[in-house]
Subunit: 377 residues, 4 copies
């Protein structure tokens, strides 16, 4: 019952999300990173090994070589995590799954909806393979508490959802200097811009927590900063299958916003509000007007006892710990031979919905507008 | 140089906004309420006089009688404030203006865009008459500071505007018991529902602060609570003439929200955020990432010295004091013989834009939507 | 049943608290300022009359003249409010009471504990006279809600009280230029410095809300800014008669603090926290760990129905409105012939306790300290 | 350049701080837990090994056995972390240091000031040995930013310090059921109560950030909950060597408080405020009245570039990450052969000051009080 062995694809020098996956995976001493195809540049592979504390011999330059080699080792990797730019998600996932590895993939599932459907079909033929998708924010303890409240009916009928994901880091042409910005604004590597990078997180979070599904939308997706190839602002009116209405807006040009993902859900018996930047609080209001605040780690949570927190209440946990909850659930399902659907980890179904949302929003943007002349004769 | 004499139309027993106008008008000892047609029920006129501290002989049952009588008195009212339900705004304003009184009217200007245009034409023929419209929120000191920042270019080019006005008081059918709710949800008296009652405040605030004008929109206006005759939820994508994009959402069924009007404006050099429920703070962020907070009453405000606050910083001022700023400016313009356009008090131009926004949003709602099937085959 | 007629002593040009009393008194249309001895400079009396909207003939240069003249008029003032610097509180109150006027006095009651005792003896001989003391902060709706919670036992046994009143406006020698600062730092006019100006507010608030009385203390009172004659910083350990312990600290040199009065009370069944700068919220926590927030104007308050707010919840009320609650209660008691003790308005008993607290803290400061050498041999 | 090998003493089943040290140490892939004397119960050693993901053969029942065995292994532990109850800190540190291991110890350094002095003397004779003390809160990025601001003189002369550490978890006799509460309220194992458990954190934080040293104090330390053997509430007036004055208060019976450690420092040119529960913000105010907020991870920090954060701004980091900064600095100093004084990690000097503060506060409590009779004759 030693640590579960993980191999990583992507995450080379300058990467943001690779080290996040490594820290999250290892946080509970249940998983250990043992190998990687961190970078396609063989000269940089040793540095990457040192950075990740991995045996240099197991730092490969090509992911297919890694899959082949690790498969043969008695102490070889047991699953693969994918942290490449979006355009490689599908080929790497396919190769890893076909080589018999379980997969934890960063979001979005793929670069296009078509690839997402292909991946879904592939997985349909491999019922034993685990495929998890790290929509990070679903791992926060109070997001899960919020979902439990919605699903259990504590808020009554869900009537309105307001979800926002605002950032300001691309309010100038950061892509000219910043590696992260460069690939995320490159159609060839990212697939989609703001809508695909963060709009899809907002979309997933809204559906995950509300327990209701979006059934129609009306979008305004645009590129604000001159010279940028992909969208950097995205505003969408949404309707849910149960009749609830909503607003989803995301931006990368909202100057001064850091990572302002927030969600409000209004039912007819209660309402909730959660903000990613202060993730350890969940604000509730009940029909009698009383406001209530729930705190991560406190005993009065509906989800207390689930182990989603690792510290007493009042000791802040954050992004790494939320991420680690996804790995914890994944490792647990693997150990117990359960499917991903038995956990709260998003899978390919959520991946497909996300990609379809992105493509529909982008292609259908700006329909249905009317001119407003207000007082002009 | 005694107190300016004011007469009120509306504001009878159970009214919300009448006493607000009275307190706001008298707050600076520059205006005095001396007469009123508070209620059309002659039996209740004495009680209303006592409530307002007005001579019972000057508490009239019909507004036309009041206008006639006050005109003849040497100590008669010098202007009229209108605080009736919306459907009476136009007839009362017309009568008062034609009788030679200046007017301060509660918003919206009228019950329909058609009436607003008629009022605009009437005023065009009376260049000396003052007509002010109490979009309350424009009176907050930090709203005016925010406007000054936008107009002066301190935020650079305005790129995105997010404005929200959420309330929860109509999340049940309060109109069955509550007088305020009853007229506000009655098509005959209110004209429009959520969009006209509060959406229009959000619209006005966005334009007032940004100093930019909405040029097109795409709306989703609906009635959530069964049995209600008017809309109670309103979500709108907006575009400004300068190219900025935006989101405006308002609701009366957002359970648990009290009076959550808030505004964010993102430029390419700075951004601002203001919330009505904590009105004495204005949050700014600059392009270098630093956050700054400005506080009402502090010496570092661009608008310090304008007298928009009456207390040292840290001593909370609120809704009455914001409202009083409109009356102060109105009284000042009147004393100095200036037009309303020389002040920050909204006038008929803003009234017309508001009514056109409401009608366009309501009539054009739900165009341009596309079905989202997300993963369904 | 017209408006109750008030005369003011003090409040001349440049005054802060005079206009506050005027606005607070008139806010509910139940009181009207009709006369004043605003300034001892006869040349400035007409300007003061104009500023306050008072008949110039009733703007007197000497308070004794005012008392004599108003007493004779059929429409003369019915009570006197005192808003002078501290050293005049006692002589003016004495003269007004002996002339048969009720009194509303700004705090502190007097400039010394000795005067406070004299005033208490004087009032003991006039059981019909009303004497109210405007410890402003006791007028906030949620302060009264908090008191009700403590008194009713909802928090259980009170165990700990933390009260703070921090300001930064005297962190430089503002007294060299600022009239307000000048008298407040002048021993002849103020009597005491930070402890008497704001420390006493904190003291009163703690006792008012907790419903428990301080029984011993240990103080550190000092003057931080060079050249200042009175104390500008005050830190006190306190014990209550019921065994509860506490901390009271106040400062005028806490740079950047505006008017940061805040109070926390911990019982064995619940706890509360209130902050003057966001006065419309009261935070509670219960023994089971749940946090609850109460909002001014909401129906779920224990004190709802008392009329302490004038607006729907979510519409900010502030300092003027809190102050007006004291005047409302005073006017009401006067109309109904009740004593001040039947209201929540502080009276001479609270005045005496306040002055004794100030004198004890200042004279007993710095006893009982021990040197800390920590690691030095 | 593999991972540095760590052995742990303490942290057995039910421990809070052991797993924290493990996660913090391993967060940056620079340290690996390889051995432990987690529990003195040999039956539980295998479970502890599994929990920590350590080879069962290296899970020892006695710390001396562990030191002996690991010293002989070629792949043996390179340093020891101590996470036992307080009474074992001194004997374990002594044994480890004498066996040639560097030490990272949880706070307080020892159970008594006498032991702290002994440890200090021992270390004085081993100039090459590293001894670090995990006063966790010094590891937060914005605490270090705050310290840099104070030390650099950006706030001017420090005049006042207010530091608080309030918890509510011992507001009932939790020690009857809760293992954590049991040892922390047991004189034999903890040494001191609230003052030693959390008051000392507040003390260390104040000195660490202000860069000034406490020189005298006046304390009120008491036991509120009946039947408890150690203090659970602690209020102290403090003076600094530079003349600044301050208030330190800590409590474990402040019902509803989670882990409310907060610090404010007022200089004559600026002021700062930091709260542990929202650790990624630092509020500043400057002499001109402007408020400024700094955010962890943002480029405008004075300490940006120091690597104290691992994520882009807006992605919350918390307690584990702060803790990991101490381990990162320790590992870095070890690798580079530097002393602990060249880092920001507290060492024995801070340990000695802490223990002396605790003993002085407890033994000198309740001196210098005066009775307050306020109005009683």
């Amino acid at each position: 019952m030693g640590r579960l062995r993980m191999a990583m694809v992507g995450g080379g020098p300058g990467a943001f999300i690779g080290p996040v996956h490594r820290r999250a995976a290892e946080l509970d001493a249940a998983i250990e990173l043992v190998a990687g195809a961190f970078t396609s540049d063989p000269k940089r592979a040793p540095d990457a090994a040192a950075f990740y504390g991995v045996d240099p011999a197991r730092s490969y330059a090509a992911f297919q070589d890694m899959l082949d080699a690790e498969k043969k080792r008695p102490d070889g990797a047991e699953f693969v995590c994918i942290v490449t730019p979006n355009h490689l998600h599908w080929p790497v996932a396919k190769a890893a799954l076909e080589a018999g590895f379980d997969v934890m993939s960063d979001k979005p599932a793929t670069a296009t909806a078509e690839e997402a459907h292909a991946l879904q079909r592939l997985l349909a033929g491999m019922p034993k393979r685990l495929y998890g998708l790290t929509y990070t924010y679903t791992g926060y303890p109070l997001v899960r508490e919020a979902r439990t409240l919605c699903i259990s009916g504590a808020l009554g009928v869900i009537r309105k959802v307001v979800v926002e994901y605002s950032q300001g880091w691309l309010s100038t042409r950061a892509e000219l200097e910043n590696k992260q910005a460069a690939w995320r604004t490159d159609p060839a590597r990212a697939g989609a811009g703001c809508t695909g990078d963060i709009g899809v997180h907002a979309f997933n979070l809204a559906e995950f927590v509300a327990g209701e599904r979006v059934s129609s939308l009306c979008a305004d997706v645009s590129t604000v900063v001159d010279g940028r190839a992909l969208d950097d602002d995205c505003n969408v009116l949404i309707r849910f299958a149960n009749g609830a209405r909503g607003v989803l807006h995301a931006s990368q040009i909202a100057l001064g916003e850091r990572n302002n993902l927030n969600l409000r859900i209004y039912g007819d018996e209660g309402a909730l509000a959660w903000r990613q930047e202060t993730p350890n609080e969940l604000a509730l209001t009940w029909a009698d007007g009383r406001g209530e605040t729930r705190h991560a780690g406190a005993g009065h949570l509906k989800t207390s006892g689930e182990g989603y927190t690792r510290l007493p209440t009042g000791h802040p946990e954050g992004y790494f710990e939320a991420f680690a909850n996804l790995y914890r659930d994944f490792a647990c399902a693997r150990r117990e031979g359960r499917t991903i659907e038995t956990t709260l980890v998003p899978g390919i179904a959520e991946g497909v919905r996300g990609m379809e949302f992105v493509e529909l929003a982008v292609t259908q943007s700006r329909k249905g507008w009317v001119e407003f002349r207000g007082g002009k004769q």
